[in-house]
Assembly symmetry: C2
Homo-oligomer: 129 residues x 2
DNA sequence: CACGATTTGACAACGGTTGTCATGACGATT
DNA sequence: AATCGTCATGACAACCGTTGTCAAATCGTG
């Protein structure tokens, strides 16, 4: 049995930000937002909190084109994302047929321990060109 | 009209490596292979050559879980990859129905300038667990 | 061959992320 | 409420892949 993480002010603050945001954000963005709100939390702590949350599958993580990792509080279960490149606004999407297709392709080629990444990026209707 | 790039020993060497490899490899791996073959090429030059090739769509680039960019000489046209996490061996795959599905999802949600990433990772049959 | 423009390569700088470690906070137990 | 072991925090340095810098070397055209 693993000990539950401690309920610290900092961890609560990070979780609160994630609950407020509806799109993906980087660790540094979250750190900036916290600073602006006057609830300053060390950058290392923000990174660590997000890692813990991601490991516990309480947040989703993905990498943007620049190699930054973005985090978002998502609903449980396997799903993918339609993400606005400009503002981060995100729509969760599901594609059962895609899942089956990916598994079948991998199986046909003798690959095991299969995982896949699938994200759709675009510009959302409220963002300028 | 843009000037054609110069035909230097270094660029030829990088292209030759890409032709030999059948899987994805990082810039640093390619740099190491060149050094081992005695055709030493500066690391900056390897990075620049790969950038140029990727911009010209002569090689595909993708990011692994660690955030490293991997390169591979691929066939022309839009396709995805089934990649061995262990050895990099790669199978090019196509999924016309997935393409249509992704475009439809984006359109339904009012997103434009849409692109998607889709890669399947696994362990291939010739690699140990 | 000579010359100008491009490319190279050693090195420094950059940016996101992770490690370090002394200090501080949590919370179970008295 | 006070004590205490343990875990979390945060300032900072280190890391690692990648990109920028710039003098020297190379390409290929005239």
């Amino acid at each position: 049995m693993v000990d539950a993480p401690r309920n610290t002010r900092q961890r609560r603050a990070v979780v609160a930000i994630l609950e407020d945001l509806d799109g993906f954000a980087s660790a540094q963005e979250i750190h900036d937002i916290l600073k602006r709100r006057g609830e300053s939390v060390g950058l290392s702590t923000v990174y660590r909190s997000l890692q813990v949350l991601a490991d516990a599958a309480e947040v989703d993580a993905l990498r943007n084109d620049d190699g930054e990792v973005l985090y978002r509080q998502c609903s449980a279960g396997h799903h993918h994302h339609l993400v606005c490149r400009s503002c981060g606004r995100t729509v969760e999407i599901e594609g059962p047929s895609v899942e089956r297709w990916a598994d079948k392709i991998a199986d046909e080629n003798g690959f095991r321990d299969v995982a896949h990444t699938l994200e759709i990026f675009g510009t959302c209707s409220s963002c300028p060109a």
